[in-house]
């Protein structure tokens, strides 16, 4: 079946292309990109006039929760949330039960995704067995089973020696380590960002340094080993400074930031809304400025959601007892578009952070719109205004601090491997 995307403004960061042009897709591949493509009858036409036609968006940081925590999310619901949110490919983190620390679990995830999923799913394998931080996981097996990176996300790899070995070993397979940077000695018991507002709300704080000391350590180890280090969900100004320095030194260090750390501050914990409880915590307005500066000067490589769906009971409770995490797949585009709308981030750069940026980190041949490329395409309606209604999420996790907020700029269509996976927020 052929698919013609007609009249849209194509934004393709890998080539710098920004023009109104048609795209013809056949057999999952982009066959033609040119003005006014004329076709015969048996072609599905997507009217993309006044829409932004981008390479398929990729999210490096998603918790699909299956196997083990299917009451929070499963591969079927999580990939539907992704499609509705405009993502064509997602990486799923290994903190499942059992942990994705061996080929069997990685294969299970791949097979489930092929059967019940609606977008491309790339598993991330664990760095250490059980994510316990003691012994290396069977990394070669994980690579064979299709893992595109390694992470103990949810917790840090505390031992510097094991992290060093993991980097050396992963380097044999040219595999990035996605590091969750947290010195748990400094963060233990913390509920929110440490600062004026943690004092005012009487909640134990998590200082910036809980993240930064581990960012610094991991960068040092990346220097020692020459490994590919990807730093997850950076939230502080000095973390960005450290990455900037590492890049200047020529180290292979990349990083991601999340939509919530780009737009929300610790002040919103007022009223003890557990949906705003997230790790790393929401920081300050100065940190937001630094993250945006990092985006604009090339220090930040991609935007990832850290989609962390939770069931109602783990958020509808006392603040200290509530789980950390935000359900982010279905709000990422509108939230980041709010920064594009106000001129804080350039549109081309924003698309880059969701496409070729993450694709390069996990080394997959996606994230670009060109003839011969896999037809993963995300179309955005930049003028659509809609209010976030968590009860309408495909994700089982309704935990979002953006509930009832209005945004302009929403996903219009999600095309995965040449097939229409979702249109106007509705999954096919």
């Amino acid at each position: 079946m052929k698919l013609l995307i007609k009249g849209g403004r194509v934004i393709n960061p890998s080539s710098g292309q920004d023009e109104v042009i048609d795209i013809l897709v056949e057999d999952g591949i982009i066959q033609e990109i040119s003005k006014d493509i004329q076709v015969e009858k048996d072609v599905n036409i997507v009217d993309a006039v006044n829409k932004l036609v981008c390479p398929g968006f990729i999210d490096l940081h998603v918790h699909l929760r299956e196997p083990g925590f299917e009451y929070k999310e499963d591969i079927a619901s999580g990939t539907r949330a992704a499609a509705a949110g405009g993502f064509t490919s997602i990486c799923c983190m290994p903190n499942t039960d059992p942990v994705i620390d061996n080929a069997a679990v990685a294969s299970f995830v791949k097979e489930r995704a092929a059967k019940s999923g609606v977008v491309n799913v790339y598993p991330i394998g664990a760095v250490t067995r059980q994510q316990a931080g003691k012994e290396l996981a069977e990394i070669a097996e994980l690579v064979t089973a299709g893992c595109v990176g390694l992470s103990d996300d949810g917790k840090p790899v505390l031992g510097s020696d094991i992290m060093r070995h993991a980097m050396d070993y992963a380097n044999m397979f040219n595999l990035p380590i996605l590091s969750h940077c947290e010195d748990t000695g400094l963060s233990s018991g913390g509920q929110m960002n440490e600062g004026y507002y943690s004092t005012i709300y009487g909640l134990q704080g998590i200082p910036d340094e809980a993240e930064e000391v581990m960012v610094a350590r991991d960068i040092m180890l990346a220097g020692l080993t020459g490994a590919r280090l990807h730093l997850c969900h950076l939230s502080t100004a000095r973390s960005i400074d450290l990455v900037r320095l590492a890049k200047k030194k020529g180290l292979y260090v990349t990083c991601e930031v999340t939509p919530h750390h780009l737009t929300l501050t610790d002040e919103i914990i007022e009223g003890y809304d557990t949906d705003a409880k997230v790790n790393p915590p929401l920081r300050t307005a100065e940190d937001i400025e630094a993250l945006i500066a990092g985006i604009n000067d090339g220090t930040v490589d991609c935007i990832a959601t850290d989609h962390a769906p939770h069931h109602l009971e783990s958020k509808d409770c006392e603040f200290n007892l509530a789980a950390f995490g935000i359900s982010g797949l279905e709000t990422a585009i509108p939230v980041v578009m709010s920064l594009v709308n106000t001129g804080r981030i350039d549109l081309m750069r924003m698309v880059e952070l969701f496409t070729v940026g993450p694709a390069d980190i996990i080394n997959i041949d996606r994230g670009t719109v060109e003839v011969g490329a896999i037809a993963d395409i995300t179309i955005i309606d930049p003028n659509k205004i809609k209010t976030v209604k968590p009860q309408e999420f495909y994700s089982k996790g309704k935990n979002t601090p953006y509930k009832n907020k209005e945004f302009r700029g929403w996903p219009y269509a999600t095309i995965v491997n040449g097939e229409l996976a979702a249109s106007e927020g509705i999954v096919r």
């Binding site: 009487g202 909640l203 509808d316 006392e318 603040f319 200290n320």
Partner: protein
């Protein structure tokens, strides 16, 4: 005062605070009577739910309700269905549907009264939540200071001890600041929260320096577990640096008031000579606590503050 709940002094206006303190004055007279009972809240029902230990706050609320003829019930959390794993939300709902008008809650986790408030139609009074607020303690402190000093306006108040973990300190800072007081806090650097300057509070590590010229000293209880988590070296060292002793009162001035929310660690944060000395108003604080809580219950469950109390 015109609101459903009392969650903290942070969000209370100066006028509301004054209204509570003014209402507490005739309430204190009731406590001193031979027949300590007025029918004001007859037919109203209140429950105290304490997830943390308490001697004075819980008893104070209960007797305050009884003096006003409200039906008061105490939920013993340690023998309740909470121990069977019942969620707070369900516990609150269960209490509500028995017909209670007001719930007094103490909890070890900050923000819990706010959460309860969102999930019930009952009035909610925060009797201390984690390290956030203890509004009725601060109200009784304000009452005591105002009664002794005649005014709150422009006083210099030093709060001594574990500021980081103290809900009493926070509520006092909010309350005192609304009356133009100069608030100083003093304690070891490891027990100071960030952002104090933004709260217009001066912080000190030297007790002598902090006490110079103050009108009021409010001593906080120090908890042993803070030492065990590495925040200060030993109780002895703490006592050497921060125990309020008679010589400190000289630095402040002879009219200085000494407050302590209790329970006291004598010989650690306060010496017995000071606790039992002429400047101490620690026992009066407890009496005033009943009066202030009567005022609150009256304002929240009763009627307007103009209603005659007899």
């Amino acid at each position: 005062m015109n609101q459903k709940d009392l969650l903290g002094l942070k969000e209370l206006s100066r006028e509301d605070i004054e209204s509570i303190l003014d209402t507490a004055v005739p309430m204190k007279d009731i406590i001193k009577r031979d027949i300590k009972k007025v029918p004001t809240l007859r037919g109203k029902a209140m429950v105290t739910v304490f997830y943390e230990n308490s001697t004075r706050t819980r008893t104070s609320f209960e007797i305050a309700g009884k003096y006003l003829s409200a039906d008061t019930v105490n939920l013993a959390v340690s023998t309740s269905s909470v121990q069977k794993g019942e969620s707070l939300k369900d516990t609150v709902k269960t209490i509500e549907v028995m017909g209670f008008d007001l719930m007094v809650i103490r909890h070890s986790m900050s923000g819990t009264p706010h959460y309860v408030s969102r999930n019930t139609n009952m009035s909610v009074i925060n009797a201390g939540d984690g390290t956030n607020e203890h509004p009725t303690q601060a109200l009784l402190d304000l009452y005591t200071i105002r009664e002794k000093k005649g005014t709150l306006e422009g006083l210099k108040v030093a709060i001594v001890g574990d500021i980081l973990h103290s809900r009493v300190a926070r509520s006092n800072i909010y309350g005192l600041s609304k009356f133009g007081c100069e608030v100083r806090v003093v304690g070891p650097a490891t027990l100071m929260p960030p952002g104090l300057e933004k709260m217009n509070v001066k912080s000190y590590h030297s007790l002598d320096a902090a006490l110079k010229g103050v009108d009021v000293i409010n001593i906080l209880r120090i908890q042993k577990e803070r030492q065990q988590t590495g925040l200060f070296p030993s109780m002895d060292e703490y006592a050497n640096l921060y125990m309020l002793r008679p010589e400190h009162l000289q630095i402040a001035g002879e009219d200085v008031l000494v407050l302590h929310p209790g329970p006291m660690n004598r010989g650690i944060e306060i010496s017995t000579q000071v606790a039992e000395g002429l400047n101490s108003v620690i026992n009066e604080q407890v009496t005033n606590g009943v009066a202030v809580r009567m005022a609150l219950l009256f304002l929240m469950m009763g009627g307007s503050k103009n209603e005659v109390i007899n």
